[in-house]
C-alpha cells in the first residue's frame, strides 16, 4: 500500500505544479536556513576525536597572581609555563603527555626555484602523534632521543609535502627552517581535526600546523610562540632564558589518562607538584588544578558560542513559520481534491487509510523540499564562508548533516500534514460527493 500511496502522491504533485512548487519552496527555504545554521553548529560542536576524547585531558595549573584569578570567578590559566611544561614532561606520570606551542618560522629549501616561505610549526614531543592519533603517510614521529637531544628533525603535513616534494616520500630529505637544516622523518596524511581541540588558543577551526618539530629546540633556537601569551608579572630579566623562567603561560599541555584511576592519580600528582612548587615560592593561589577531557575542554572554552546556539534556535523558528505556510497550502491542495476523497471513502477507504495516503504525500513534499533545501543550505554555507572569510572546516556539509536535514524535512512536513490530513478525512464522504 505504501508504494500505491507513493504513486498517488507523485501523481497529485504533478497535477498542481504551481501549488506543488510553492509547498516545496516553503519547505526548502526553511530547511535551507536550518541546514546552514545546523551545519555550522554541527561542525563546531562535533567531537574531533571520538575514539579517545574521554582519555585525553587538558591540564590546567593555577600559577596566577595572588591578587586576582586568571578568569572570573576562579578559573586557572588555560596554558602552562615553560618551566611547568618541562617539569611535567620529565615526571612522565601519564601514559602519554605532551607540551606544545606554535611558532612562525622561515622555510627554505635547496631548490633555487622555491622561494622562502613563512610557515607555522608546532614544537612538541613525540607523544603528540600517538596521543592524538595523527595519521602518517610516510615515515613516523621522531623518537625519544630526538626529543632529548633536541635534534633538528621535522614532520611535514600532507600539503607542504605536496608543495615541496610533489607528494613523494620525502623521509630523509632536508629542509631549512630559520637557517637550520632539518631532516624529514615523517609526512602526515591529510589531517584536520575540527575543532582543533589540542590548541584552542589559535584559530579553533583553522588548519593544523604546516610542520612539527621537537619541543626542546625552543631554547637553542629561541623560538617564540605566535599564539596567546599571558603573564601576570614581568620576567626576572629581559633575556630569552628569563622569559622561559617567567610565570608567563603560552604552552598547551595534554595528558593521556585512559582509566579513572589514572585520572585520579594524575590529579593527585598535579596537586603534589604544585605543593612542591609553593615551597619554592611559586603558585601563590590556593590549589586549583584541573583536568578536562576533550568534550569538557571544548565546552569550557566556549567553542560553540551562545550566538551559534541562538542562531540555530532562530532558524528553527523560521522553519516553523515556513511550515505554518505549508500547512495552509497543503490544506488547500487536499480540499481541492474533495471529490477524490469522497469517492475513496465511498468505496471503502477507512479514515486511517486515507490519513496514511495524505501523510505519504506530505512526506514526498518534505523530501523534495529537503533536497532543494540542502542545495540552498549548501549555497548558504558558501555564502557564510565568503562573508566571514572563514576556513571550510565549519562551513561544509557532511553526509551526517545531509541525512539530518532530510530527516528534519520529512518530519516537519509530515507534522505540517497532520492537521490538513486529519481535517479532510473526518468530513463525511457524502459532503464531498455533493460537491461533485
Amino acid at each position: 500500500m505504501f508504494l500505491y500511496n507513493l504513486r498517488l502522491a507523485l501523481l497529485s504533485l504533478k497535477r498542481d505544479p504551481v501549488l506543488t512548487l510553492l509547498m516545496v519552496g516553503a519547505v526548502a527555504v526553511g530547511i535551507g536556513m536550518s541546514t546552514t545554521t545546523l551545519a555550522v553548529y554541527h561542525s563546531m560542536s562535533g567531537n574531533p576525536i571520538p575514539q579517545k576524547s574521554g582519555q585525553l585531558f587538558a591540564v590546567q595549573l593555577d600559577n596566577w597572581s595572588p591578587s586576582q584569578p586568571y578568569n572570573d570567578p576562579d578559573d586557572p590559566p588555560t596554558q602552562v609555563t615553560y618551566r611547568d611544561a618541562q617539569n611535567l614532561m620529565h615526571a612522565g606520570k601519564a601514559k602519554h603527555q605532551n607540551a606544545s606551542f606554535t611558532s612562525a618560522m622561515v622555510l627554505q629549501t635547496d631548490k633555487p626555484d622555491v622561494k622562502p616561505d613563512l610557515i607555522v610549526a608546532r614544537a612538541t614531543f613525540d607523544d603528540f602523534f600517538p596521543m592524538f592519533d595523527v595519521p602518517f603517510e610516510y615515515g613516523g614521529p621522531w623518537n625519544k632521543d630526538a626529543d632529548q637531544n633536541a635534534e633538528q628533525v621535522v614532520v611535514l603535513d600532507h600539503e607542504y609535502n605536496q608543495k615541496l616534494f610533489g607528494g613523494a616520500n620525502s623521509v630523509g630529505k632536508e629542509i631549512i627552517l630559520n637557517n637550520r637544516r632539518f631532516r624529514v622523518v615523517g609526512v602526515l596524511k591529510p589531517w584536520a581535526p575540527s575543532p582543533k581541540y589540542y590548541d584552542l588558543e589559535n584559530d579553533q577551526f583553522g588548519d593544523p600546523e604546516d610542520m612539527f618539530i621537537p619541543f626542546n629546540l625552543v631554547s637553542g633556537m629561541q623560538l617564540h610562540s605566535n599564539g596567546n601569551n599571558s603573564c601576570w608579572g614581568p620576567p626576572a630579566d629581559n633575556s630569552f632564558q628569563g622569559y622561559l623562567n617567567s610565570e608567563c603561560v603560552w604552552i598547551q599541555f595534554w595528558a593521556e589518562l585512559p582509566t579513572k584511576a589514572e585520572q585520579d592519580d594524575y590529579h593527585q600528582f598535579l596537586d603534589n607538584y604544585v605543593q612542591d612548587q609553593k615551597k619554592l615560592g611559586r603558585f601563590p593561589r590556593p590549589l586549583n588544578n584541573r583536568l578536562n577531557d576533550v568534550t569538557d575542554w571544548l565546552a569550557y572554552n566556549h567553542v560553540v558560542s551562545k550566538d551559534s546556539e541562538a542562531l540555530v534556535g532562530l532558524s528553527f523558528m523560521f522553519l516553523a513559520v515556513c511550515m505554518l505556510n505549508t500547512i495552509g497550502l497543503i490544506l488547500a491542495k487536499f480540499l481541492r481534491r474533495s471529490g477524490e476523497i469522497g469517492l475513496r471513502r465511498a468505496v471503502g477507504a477507512s479514515k486511517a487509510a486515507l490519513f496514511r495516503q495524505y501523510l505519504v504525500e506530505t512526506g514526498v513534499i518534505g523530501i523534495s523540499g529537503g533536497l532543494l533545501g540542502i542545495l540552498l543550505g549548501w549555497a548558504g554555507l558558501i555564502g557564510v564562508r565568503h562573508l566571514i572569510n572563514s576556513s571550510d572546516h565549519y562551513t561544509h556539509l557532511d553526509w551526517t548533516m545531509v541525512g539530518v536535514s532530510l530527516l528534519l524535512a520529512l518530519l516537519s512536513s509530515m507534522l505540517a500534514g497532520i492537521y490538513p490530513a486529519w481535517r479532510v478525512v473526518r468530513i463525511p464522504p457524502a459532503i464531498y460527493l455533493k460537491v461533485q
Binding site: 475513496r344 471513502r345 468505496v347 471503502g348 479514515k351 460527493l433 455533493k434 461533485q436
Partner: protein, 247 residues
C-alpha cells in the same frame, strides 16, 4: 429477515429520521422513513428535488448517519456501526454509481476500477483478474490504459459501473446514473444495469426520470422525507416478480 414469501430482505429501514441542523433552522430530510428491498430486486426511488431521495441513498449506502430508526443491510444491523465498520461494509458489499461518474482524472481506467479493491487487501493478481472481468463486462477491456478524459461520457459511466462491479457487491446504489448522458448512452447504461440485476445483484436507483423508473421492478416515491407510494410495475418484459415493500 425474510418476508412471508421466504425471500430475504437486502435492505430494511424502519422509521429512519434524519434532521439537518444549523444554528437557526432544522430541516427534516427523512421522517419515519421505512422501506424494504428484497434480495435481487431492482427498485427505483423517485421524487422531486429536495424530497429526501439523496439523503435516503446516502444513508442506505452508509455514507451518512441518521438520527433515529433501525437499518438492516444484508441481514446485519448497521444502525450503530463505527466509521471503520461502515467503510468495511461499503467496500465489501456495496457498489456506487454516481451521476457525475466520480472517476479520478489522474488514474487510467484500470487504476480507477482498482480503487475499491486496493482497500480490500487483495493480492495483485486477484485484483487484476477482477478488473479485467469487470471491464470485459462493460465492454471496455481494450481501454484499460486510457485516462477518463479520453473517454466519452457513456464510457466513463461504464468505467464507474465496472468499478462498482469489480468489488462484487451485494447491492448497487445508483444516483441518477444516466443524468449526464444522452439518450443512446443512457439506454446502454440502463441495459447494463438490468443485466447486472439479472445476475443477482440488488439495485436501488434514484432518478427523476419516469422512463428509467419504469424499467425497475418497482418504484418508490419519496416526498418530504417519507415514502408516499409503492407502485408495482405490471410487466417488465420477463423480469422477476415485484418484491413487496412497505412504507
Amino acid at each position: 429477515m425474510n418476508d412471508s414469501n421466504g425471500s430475504k430482505n437486502m435492505l430494511s429501514m424502519q422509521n429512519i429520521s434524519k434532521i439537518y441542523r444549523t444554528d437557526v433552522v432544522q430541516t427534516h430530510a427523512l421522517r419515519e422513513f421505512s422501506l424494504e428491498v428484497k434480495e435481487g430486486e431492482f427498485v427505483a426511488v423517485m421524487g422531486p428535488s429536495g424530497s429526501g431521495k439523496t439523503t435516503f441513498l446516502n444513508i442506505a449506502g452508509l455514507l451518512e448517519s441518521f438520527d433515529t430508526g433501525i437499518y438492516m443491510l444484508d441481514g446485519e444491523d448497521v444502525s450503530h456501526l463505527s466509521d471503520d465498520g461502515r467503510s468495511r461494509i461499503r467496500n465489501e458489499r456495496i457498489g456506487f454509481i454516481f451521476q457525475s461518474f466520480n472517476l479520478i482524472p489522474d488514474l487510467n481506467v484500470f487504476d480507477n476500477v482498482d480503487v475499491p479493491l486496493r482497500y480490500r487487501g487483495l493480492k495483485s493478481a486477484d485484483r487484476a483478474k477482477r478488473i479485467q472481468d469487470a471491464l470485459e463486462t462493460v465492454g471496455l477491456a481494450s481501454r484499460m490504459k486510457h485516462l477518463p478524459s479520453q473517454l466519452s461520457g457513456g464510457q466513463q459511466q461504464r468505467v464507474a459501473i465496472a468499478r462498482a462491479l469489480a468489488g462484487e457487491p451485494r447491492i448497487l446504489f445508483a444516483d441518477e446514473p444516466t443524468g449526464n448522458l444522452d439518450s443512446l448512452m443512457a439506454r446502454q447504461v440502463l441495459d447494463m444495469l438490468e443485466s447486472i440485476n439479472a445476475s443477482g445483484t440488488t439495485i436501488v436507483m434514484v432518478t427523476h426520470d419516469p422512463e428509467l423508473a419504469r424499467r425497475a421492478h418497482r418504484s418508490v416515491h419519496v416526498l418530504d422525507g417519507q415514502v408516499m407510494d409503492l407502485k408495482a410495475v405490471p410487466d417488465t418484459g420477463g423480469k422477476r416478480d415485484n418484491g413487496k415493500a412497505q412504507a
